[in-house]
Symmetry: C2
């Protein structure tokens, strides 16, 4: 029942090394659309203003000798009064920041992104990849697809902009083949690394204009094309669909599906007592036989053919697919890489969101699908 391997693979644990080295090596690829005039400029001084509003503030300013005193800088005002996060994001032209930590590139992931019916010109993609051999390969494959879509694909496929971060000095865990107990011990380090990657991606890419942040793992290969509209339609601060996995059942000889993400749960008295008896730095993990929590897992709440809009409140969430109002993050909700109320990463995030007054919800009957390795 263990939650299957996440999207960042590791071989040795050393969080401090990540901390120091993380993001020292960053590069950003920004694929811009064709330019349009800056229609937001409100001053009469339009001469010299940026041609395209999407060019990022990432390059160092270069002084031009002799020019400095002669020409005052252009002034551009961006009126952001109408940033909303509503049940009708498309109607209100709300921007989505779609964030994906990636260790492997799956063509099916990209194909699924392209099928999303939410206007692509309102979607900014952000990726973070480890600086490992596998990460380099994934980056190359990702960039190839990006070039294909952004430069040669039809206009409706092209995303607003794309940012790629590389995480330096990725620590690695001992082999996942060792005993159960060791596996459980490894989880804390693995989840901490994952949390730091999510935070680096979030803190670096969240700007003033995003209404929603959609977390989507790199191994999510199938979602309803209307995923963003469907989830945003619930108008919840934090909302998780149910993550399943398709497989071929050798016995029944039929295509079947099984629950995959066990981090979406409702708390139990047993789990609270377990946590109460733990040290402050210990974490309570879901999906391990040696530590039964008796939490109510959303993975097991799905009912065939029942209402896809049915909601349940959640106390822990997973990160395979998760829609978050950008203001929840702006309030300070991040992914704790340390034990936070004995929870870590996305589960700790759910607790933090609750501490900030935002209640997470889940959709047991609304499914997205994980890659089957």
């Amino acid at each position: 029942m263990a939650r299957r391997m996440g999207s960042v693979r590791l071989k040795r644990a050393n969080p401090i090394t990540v901390a120091v080295g993380a993001l020292l090596c960053i590069f950003i690829v920004l694929f811009l659309f064709y330019p349009s005039g800056s229609s937001h400029a409100t001053t009469s001084q339009r001469a010299g203003a940026a041609v395209h509003p999407l060019s990022p503030p990432t390059a160092p300013y270069r002084r031009i000798p002799g020019l400095s005193e002669s020409r005052p800088p252009p002034v551009i005002r961006y009126n952001m009064n109408n940033i909303t996060a509503t049940a009708d994001p498309e109607g209100n032209r709300e921007n989505i920041l779609l964030l994906t930590p990636m260790a492997r590139f799956y063509p099916e992931y990209w194909a699924n992104l392209l099928r999303l019916t939410y206007p692509h010109e309102l979607i900014t993609l952000g990726f973070i990849l480890p600086k490992t051999k596998e990460g380099n390969e994934a980056t190359a494959a990702l960039q190839k697809q990006i070039a294909k879509t952004q430069r040669h694909g039809p206009a409706r496929d092209r995303f607003r902009s794309i940012v790629i971060l590389r995480q330096d000095d990725e620590p690695a865990l001992a082999s996942q083949d060792e005993g159960e107990r060791h596996k459980l011990a490894n989880q804390k380090a693995r989840r901490a690394v994952m949390a730091r990657a999510r935070n680096a991606l979030l803190f670096t890419t969240l700007g003033p204009d995003a209404s929603w942040v959609l977390w989507l793992d790199a191994d999510i290969v199938e979602t309803p094309p209307s995923l963003i509209q469907d989830l945003a339609g619930h108008d919840r601060a934090v909302l998780a669909p149910n993550c399943f996995q398709r497989y071929y059942d050798e016995e029944t000889r039929r295509a079947e599906e099984r629950p995959y993400d066990f981090n979406n749960w409702q708390d139990s008295e047993v789990a609270q007592k377990l946590a109460g008896a733990m040290g402050r730095d210990d974490i309570l993990l879901e999906g391990y036989r040696e530590m039964p929590t008796y939490r109510a897992l959303m993975a097991y709440m799905a009912q065939e053919g029942k209402d896809e809009k049915f909601e349940v409140p959640l106390d822990g969430v997973g990160g395979t697919a998760l829609l978050v109002k950008a203001d929840v993050h702006r309030d300070g909700a991040m992914f704790p890489p340390f034990a936070f109320y004995n929870l870590i990463e996305t589960e700790g995030f759910a607790k933090m969101a609750k501490r900030l007054g935002w209640q997470p919800y889940g959709l047991p009957n609304y499914k997205v699908y994980h890659y089957n390795e």
Copy 2:
């Protein structure tokens, strides 16, 4: 000994209201320098690329009918491999994000900013102001000074770019004139609002190219002009100068100075025991007679004429002036608006940085000065 009133003034407490309303109303003023060609474009396809690299990705993309199929979008790559945070930030052309929550505009604050000798073209300023009458006045005064500096001032004064956020539905506290006990109770709500403001400012403005974040309160009216170089020279992840206040002593009839920020401290056994006996949602505040902590306060460690470079490790930090390596924030360190190890806001931030493996330090003999009301 109470820490004096911070830079956000309030009249009624309701964190949820802030949470919901915060940042729904944002506007950004970006004062750009004169345009220069995008020298970072690495592809041969330069036609149509943004004229100026600093224009922000904040305006919605607008589709131009008929143009979509005929012209592929330009591709611009920003190579960010050399983002460092070193003891020689000027030599390494490191970008500083200078963040200030502001409720009142002090001309002395702005004059002090202008005196900073760190190259202004490497400094981005970020402000967040409440949407109150006072906040509106401060915004107007701030914008006036910005226009003066950025458009009409000498080139060396001009900052790289400036972002202003407005925080909607600012909650307010009951009058500060009520009894001590009430004052103490108010602190938690006041600090929580301040923490949310800092988080909103941080999450919204931190981009991929910042090396350092300098937190500087709006009522800091005097610092050494070499503040940034001096602090960065210590190469610490989190570093706080000592915040004092100048005043005229009626008795001695001389200009004197007194310690001001009491949130820079080293923990004590008494404080740890106090916290241990508290509920998880309670916070332990510094500077209240009814709750003596016996922490070692950096405010009282200053020694006349002694080494300005002398460092002490800290367990709690204040926000009046604080230099933080951007990677500490990217790791997830934010300002908890809730009790975090019985600490809140900047003091909670110090604890969070420590949990992430970053040790805060302070400089008892290196002083900055707070406005005297």
